[in-house]
Amino acid sequence: MSKLDNEITLVKEEIITMWKLVQSQLEKGLSALLNFDKDLAREVVMIEKRVNAAELKIDRDCEDIFAIYSPVAIDLRFLLAVLKINTNLERMGDIAEGIAKMILDSKQPFNESILDATKIIEMYGECLQIVEQILEAFEKEDTAIARGIFKRDELLDEINRGANDLIAQYIKAHPEDMDMALTTLSIIRRLERVGDQAENIAEEIIFYIEAKVIKHAPKRDKRAD
């Protein structure tokens, strides 16, 4: 293994570690939501600094590799993809922190009827599975697994699109829970962005493995590609 290969392996390990940290943040966010666990929400907020620090370290390591080794072809594509995946993961970390802060600001637990009515738990579960799936795609360098994300993201988009109507129906029936309903809608919006970040990561994985740019292509073309 050349020195460059070693460095690239190290960067790959670093990004996977960051990925698992972000996964853990999102999982804790779900647990905090279900159990109205403010201590856990606080923990997510505090650990966000580690996600940011990991992002900076990976950026610097990529810069050093560019400077020292002048990588080409697939190695160059890999590092370019890592730089973008890095920022996408950091955004997911921000989203997890944002959800945790909303839980901290809530005065009362989210009741079961609103969680059921809005399908937010289903949506959150799907987000976690999407993040798991793209990590698998990255580790195995498998573009078929990466492409599987696009269809899953459609479910998130569907729940997000329907959220306004579901929340409106809920508020009509329970006007006393307006504040909780609006917070739930905010969380749904953030979860939809997790799907967007995951989609961006999937595009980068496909780019670096196949040297094919599918960013900004219509979804049906991404799935069929």
Binding site: D59, C62, E63, F66, A67, S70, V72, L76, L80, L83, K84, T87, D94, N164, I167, A168, I171, K172, P175, M178, D179, L182, T183, L185, S186, R189, R193, V213, K215, H216
Partner: protein, 215 residues
């Protein structure tokens, strides 16, 4: 013209395009101009194309580093800004999508209660200032942007309460209220992206090398 200046010019063009997208979006909102809203959606493709072009140029500079400039940190810096601007462009599209879904213009009272026009104008100003900070290589402007982000966040934190109070008096305005709430969430996302831009401008240090020099 130096390679750094070429990249800087490209990113400034993209920045201006994204600012214009948001100005049009605000105008579309103020006048309930659905044709203008549709135009924003169509022009989003140009923003996406610009992003890809700049990305390709950056990859080219990283691959063919025959000279010492542009430096690697600078190219990566441009790539990050590029990424942020594309996201900011996406947010304009998200806002007009909510506008297009509205069945009729929003009531003046609702718009006033949530202070959405003021919030959006603040966002536009921060976006323009971040461009100034980059174009003039002035860190103090980026610092001012960050302080304005805090002011925005304090103001937008009051939207839930404002909406709740408004809906108690006007329950028939539930659907448009939720629509406007979605737009406010998009503005919060917009400010998050602008904050990330400002932090990137402040974090990047290239001593003695201006971002942009006129040819």
């Amino acid at each position: 013209m130096s390679q750094s200046t070429t990249l800087s010019k490209e990113i400034i063009e993209m920045w201006n395009l994204v600012c214009l997208q948001h100005e049009k979006t605000l105008t579309a909102f103020l006048n309930f101009d659905l044709d203008l809203a549709r135009e924003v959606v169509l022009i989003e493709e140009r923003v996406d194309s610009s992003e890809q072009l700049i990305d390709t140029d950056c990859a080219h500079f990283l691959h063919y580093r025959l000279q010492t400039e542009p430096s690697i940190p600078f190219v990566i810096h441009i790539m990050k800004i590029n990424r942020q601007l594309e996201r900011i462009g996406d947010i304009a599209e998200a806002i007009v999508t909510d506008l297009l879904a509205a069945e009729e213009p929003f009531s003046d009272e609702l718009v006033e209660e949530v202070q959405i026009v003021d919030l959006y104008r603040k966002c536009l100003r921060m976006l323009e200032m971040s461009l100034d900070a980059f174009a003039t290589n002035d860190r103090t402007i980026a610092q001012v942007v960050l302080s304005r982000v805090e002011v925005f966040q304090d103001q937008s934190a009051g939207v839930n309460v404002a909406l709740t109070n408004f809906l108690k008096l006007h329950p028939e305005q539930l659907k448009p209220s939720l629509n406007i709430f979605s737009i406010v969430k998009s503005l919060e996302n917009l400010v998050d992206q602008i904050q990330t831009l400002a932090v990137e401008l402040l974090s990047f240090e290239q001593k003695g090398v201006p971002y942009y020099t006129k040819a």
